[in-house]
């Protein structure tokens, strides 16, 4: 049990960060606007959460210009993918253990 909880990654412990990682796991990349629209979050919200994930080394940021407009793309790193998978597994295990302990299947 201890072990499972230690696998729950605090860096993903927020709806927006979880969302950002989920989107980036199944897409090659996502730009700022796409993330914003998908998650229904504000500019500042996305900016601060992506920054936090970037600091952890889970995602990288690529800035470029498309038609002279600045465009920011986010991609997951290998570390980020691994960490997120581990987090997912921990979530699943935690739920399974709980079902076994209480005997309720929900």
């Amino acid at each position: 049990m201890e072990n499972i909880i230690s696998n729950i990654n605090k860096a993903f412990d927020h709806r927006v960060r979880l969302g950002i990682m989920s989107v980036l796991m199944v897409n090659e990349f996502a730009d700022f606007k796409t993330l914003k629209d998908l998650l229904g979050a504000t500019d500042g919200n996305i900016a601060s959460h992506t920054k936090a994930l970037e600091k952890k080394g889970y995602i990288v940021v690529q800035k470029s210009f498309i038609n002279r407009k600045p465009n920011t793309r986010y991609l997951t790193t290998v570390t980020g993918k691994k960490a997120f998978k581990k987090h997912l597994e921990a979530l699943e295990k935690l739920l399974n253990t709980d079902i076994m302990l209480t005997g309720t299947d929900k």
């Binding site: 709806r15 979880l18 969302g19 989920s22 989107v23 796991m25 199944v26 897409n27 996502a30 730009d31 796409t34 629209d37 998908l38 998650l39 997912l88 979530l91 699943e92 935690l94 739920l95 709980d98 929900k106």
Partner: protein, 213 residues
């Protein structure tokens, strides 16, 4: 209570993964309409061809198209284009409506990806059919249209409902069978583009749209 939060987390993750990679506002009803237009187009084409020697029974495949007057060919191409425009127009309209209802954007990464991946094989197929026309290989046009359209669907299915794949394979199979019965090309065309679309559209509508309406 922690538990409930984790469950919510997991469902949120699943939701985000599918919403960001698949365009799920594609309307099933649009398929029914597309099938209807295709059937109407096929019926008009049959009228036009009545009285002509069946254009699809080519005695010599390398022969010319001369025995089919060029005005009829122009009309047939025109019918095909009108069917295509009507089908796409209706699909865009109904899909936009559904996207609004789902509170989704009609023009985002997922829809763009779907459209590019759908039209790339279809465009190649369209050019190929024109080449067949150029060499007078009329009998192969209907099967080729079915084949390329089916492959386009299989290819596009990764970016929307996976169910599209089964329709794609069904149409590819039909196209391959049609190559062996070239004199019935128009009938195969009507079955593939008309009847398959209608069946599939109704099925999709029942599966995804009706309960939510």
């Amino acid at each position: 209570m922690e538990n409930e939060r984790y469950l919510k987390d997991l469902s949120e993750i699943k939701n985000m993964m599918s919403r960001s990679s698949k365009f799920i506002s594609l309307s099933g009803l649009a398929g029914v309409f597309a099938g209807g237009y295709a059937l109407m187009g096929a019926i008009i084409a049959m009228w036009l061809l009545e009285g002509n020697v069946s254009p699809f029974s080519l005695p010599d495949l390398s022969g010319s198209v001369n025995f089919l007057s060029s005005s009829i060919i122009t009309s047939l191409v025109l019918i095909a284009i009108i069917v295509l425009v009507l089908a796409i127009g209706t699909a865009v309209y109904l899909t936009t409506r559904k996207a609004h209802k789902n509170e989704q954007q009609i023009w985002d990464t997922t829809s763009r990806r779907l459209i590019i991946n759908f039209f790339a094989p279809l465009f190649a197929g369209g050019i190929f059919c024109l080449v067949l026309l150029q060499y007078g290989l009329i009998g192969l046009i209907a099967p080729s249209m079915l084949l390329f359209y089916g492959l386009a669907l299989v290819h596009a299915s990764k970016y929307t409902f996976g169910d599209l794949k089964s329709l794609g394979y069904a149409i590819v199979t039909l196209g391959l069978i049609a190559t062996q019965f070239m004199e019935y090309g128009l009938y195969f065309w009507a079955v593939g583009f008309g009847i398959f679309h209608i069946i599939y559209g109704i099925w999709m509508y029942n599966k995804y749209d009706r309960n939510k309406a």
